[in-house]
Subunit: 366 residues, 4 copies
């Protein structure tokens, strides 16, 4: 059986997932056969060029048609087109994989999660950092109790592509289209990693900041208002009693894609940075300092599919792992995590941060 | 003229300041002459032994007497004995140097600051990290505009000496004696560095946590309640529009004395860690990444007093610099910063964090 | 036109190059079309399975036939089968790409280089680390004079897979099959990087060491002698007056694939490690310390083909760049560097190190 | 009993040792009482000023007189005045402490060691890096077998104060006065650490380089020839079969005082850098990566004399430890290591490196 995949979106994420699918046969020979079937978008010319480069057989400008005809539907479009096509696919019984954050509003995210529950087919949320070998290895250590009871977590996602006030306006600066700014785009990843590694968030206090209120429209004299956050900070308390701080920014000068997470437990601690994603810094019980571990050994998660110890992998490999797991679940009628429930749970935390910012007080995420 | 100094407290801080005074003649020949005059405490035997080791000429168990007879009074006792002797000294016209936090309560801190204003003599607050060469160098860079407008600040002070639930109870776990826990002991330093480097705090949201509620009393079967925080987190907004997160803990496994501060501005960024206090990581305008700078060149702050480039100094040297500046101010009738006003300002932020924790909402520090 | 490629060798290097060819269309759309035509080996069953997984159309056990029928021949077999098939291909006018070191002996390497000169078709030597973006960026900086006159170079390639004396014997421990040990396998890369970045080597002094003289044969009670070096050290003087030290080991406990190069010049310095291959540490003129640069910006070498800034690539990407350049040269009748002349030049340095070890004195590499 | 100390030399090393002696009473209360008795030099005015600042009671321009009248003699002068006064002191039965390298020539070093053997009083060689807590801790680990059998050692001492060709000529550039350049000044430290941590050197191959042949004389139009090395490299084989590379330079741009040592053994590895002297990077058996250990715990060598965990010490503290051990040995008629025999052993290695450079071949150090 070959899974025919329909993909909405052909830019950054389209390329990342097309590449991931293309690499499965050589590196994950037990993955299901996958056909990059149809690429969906609005601009036919751009679409055709992208389909050619990304290896899709067909193109379509009508997602409604596609979601019914393919075996799997990937929704990689901007946030405001996440809900409708995803729900339509699920209603047609088509497994869906959707980029993060799940939706621009909590209401839409709830509808999507409800549709997934109803459909009973795999509905994946695109938290690809769960598929970094070092993060998986961290998860195994924590589950095995190697860190003991967790006391502290710190998550930060720092970028700097907006620090120049003359950087042009884009849909990512618009509340209608993006829902939120750094909070949804970057914070969604951090919240998911916190949930994956440490547990559910009980309450939050948040702060959203916009440093530059309007930005020039490229190729014109106009400016448009920035209606989302450039940065957020948050304090959290987890259900297991751990406490933490979260933060993301598009103004952190000198940081390109610096997603870090730090965890301190009663027996050990760990630190991770996406910019050095092959490494995990680990303090084990009885050790005097953090070990810098290159998570590239044969028995490290996913590593045996790739190269010998010390031959590092890149950011894109997380998509291969993610696609392998998701498509295998589709083929085997299995379960896939993180699913829409996880997407919704992250969204609830993000919404609570926004609400906390509005009201100036702590918000329970129940 | 020789300044005769009276010092209350002869443990950790007593040793640090006695050493600092002892080293001035060789390394800061233009410092005023200082006589380690009288060491003040309650236990005569311990006091005599300490005075002998630390080079004091006399001992006294009566601070009231001492504050009137010496040229300078150092109050290095526990927090709950900061206010009364310091105020008495100031009322007697004796310059005072007081360890941080200024007092266990905001009220006392305010009385102390008022006494200092009234007295018109130097009243120093013991924020010794202002005297790290790398921090001073950072201050110069920021003041010269090298970082541009500041957007973000992150300050963390991580220790782990209480992570073992069987670690014994001490006065530092008691609200009466210590005022607060990690917040006052560690957070005071962080808040002062934020104020020194970035500016005044406009509002805060805070969270205090106690992970272990009671601890064994050493040498007995009893336990005593822990009535202070083991850790705090905070979000802050500064008057200049920068935002940040603060944190301190005595439960951060693997961290001994890890005080870090990070600042991101529109033109550059910097990072500092007390465990590598000779270094400053600096992103300058036009650079592609952080430079790791060894702040040990001849023209770096205070360095010409010590050793050639690359010959690193230690934690204790910050006390020498601090004592040099404070005692010079005393001798010259000059001004000294940080003073009690700075101690009070830091205390206001700490108190606002506590109040925010109580009330679950943001608190303006006006 | 589509280039039909024949590949001898289907293990580690076979996989690395098959993957590289497979990825060209999506990421390097201007690369020539490539057909993974025929996979060459001795064991038909293993070969068929590999061809299936690596995407080759045919298999063959007769390289002599293949080198005449394909458009390009990749020789990825063990060192002792480098010479004969490569020379046969060149004599047939077929461009050749050969893994490093070029040959187990200097004589064979010289014959290969002569055949390449004669043939006048691209003959590539597999020094893939020239194609790391950070190394290319380093090369640009050095060529632009940013480091000034070079004084020092240090190159080390540290692994630890033989530190256990019970690690089994393999062909890599045999002088007949491998030529040398760490020297040829690892040192070839280091010597090439030194030549690429700094210049030609004028003279060497070398030391070869074998720590464990015999090793167990897997699945038997026998041992076999280790007839190659476990580690080497060398001192070098370059034609431009720079001096340096080189080293490689398979006994450097804790190092998996730690290839580092450091260069100090009159204006600046740089450092690189293969285990953090997205980074370059650079001291620029006027700077006070090394900048840690993430070489993932749009205008960094090759990066625009991949992902946005901060989205790191892996070890395997160097093969994509290398294949892109080599196959483009084949398609365009262009030149490719590093070629067999570079392979030979590196080999001369390695041979001189061996000779120096034998004779206990410095050897000119003329 | 109070030890009256005579010190020849009042610049950099004079200050370092005077400070060390001054700090003993407060931090090492069981050290013998020490009187900074007489400071010896040629320029009376400069001497008087230095004595005043460094706390000496008297000055003298006649070392011959001093070595007979004091209890201990410190020879901290330039290399060419090491031998005569030290030997005179030993002949008078006065314990001697001499800066490194022991002498500008091997002959003189041998005479000094012979005099020390004859005298039977402590004769200390100033290898202060043996007294870094992290190095001592490393020594304990190695002696306890934690690293297993040692295979590799790497030692580098990098500075950059001569990289500017216009940097002025000094006695350190003159073969008569200094004996050698980077080799003796920096390499002596490295060789001693290798001997201390790993063992005796069996044979060496060396290379000395002078990048700039003459330098301007400060305050004149003249230049003077540089007759010593600006940098050296060496390969070594140790008596226990370990191999290594050594290097030092005054031209390593960006490195101020970067003395590093790396050791790989069959069970573990370690790394140390003087610029982060509170840290040791340690790979322990069973660990996956190097731990970054802050060697500031209470039970770390010498640390209990100073401050609580995480409160780092500086370069100068190594002199306090060294003076404590040496002066205690003098007071107790005990033994002190490293002694003149160690100074001589290091010198033999340095001389062999020079001879190897001359002759272009390996030299046994027997």
């Amino acid at each position: 059986m070959t899974l025919r995949v329909g993909v909405l979106g052909y830019r950054f994420m389209g390329k990342a997932h097309a590449n991931a699918m293309a690499r499965l046969p050589m590196f994950f020979p037990d993955a299901p056969d996958v056909e990059r079937g149809v690429l969906v978008g609005r601009d036919e010319a751009a679409l055709a060029a992208a389909a050619d480069r990304l290896g899709f057989e067909e193109i379509s400008t009508d997602w409604a048609d596609v979601v019914e005809s393919v075996d799997v539907f990937y929704n990689l479009g901007p946030n405001h087109v996440h809900a409708e096509p995803s729900i339509a696919a699920l209603e047609a019984g088509t497994p869906v994989f959707c980029e993060k954050p799940l939706a621009p509003t909590l209401d839409e995210a709830e509808e999507m999660a409800a549709a997934a529950r109803e459909a009973g087919v795999p509905a994946g949320a695109a938290f690809n950092y769960r598929f970094v070998p070092a993060i998986r290895y961290a998860k195994e250590l924590i589950e095995a109790g190697e860190l003991g009871e967790i006391h502290h977590v710190r998550g930060r996602y720092l970028q700097d592509w907006l620090v120049d006030p003359e950087a042009p306006w884009s849909w990512r600066n618009d509340a209608e289209m993006a829902g939120s700014g750094a909070l949804g785009d970057l914070g969604a990843h951090t919240v998911d990693l916190v949930r994956f590694l440490v547990g559910d968030v009980a309450r939050v206090s948040g702060q959203l900041t916009t440093f530059v209120d309007e930005r020039p429209v490229e190729g014109s004299d106009e400016t448009r208002p920035v209606t989302v956050d450039d940065a957020y900070t948050a304090q959290i308390e987890l259900e297991n009693g751990a406490v933490g701080t979260l933060e993301a920014s598009r103004f952190a000068n000198g940081h390109k894609n610096d997603h870090t997470i730090e965890i301190n437990g009663s027996k050990g601690s760990l630190r991770f940075s996406l910019e050095r994603l092959n490494e995990l810094e680990l303090l084990s019980e009885g050790d005097r300092g953090y070990e810098t571990i290159l998570v590239t050994d044969e028995d490290d998660p996913y590593v045996d599919h790739w190269w010998p110890p010390g031959h590092v992998i890149g950011w894109e490999h997380t998509f291969v792992h993610e696609n392998y797991e998701f498509l295998s679940a589709v083929a085997d009628d299995g379960a896939f995590e993180p699913g829409f429930e996880d997407g919704l749970a992250a969204q609830r935390v993000l919404a609570a941060i926004e609400e906390s910012d509005d009201r100036g007080e702590w918000i329970a995420t129940e």
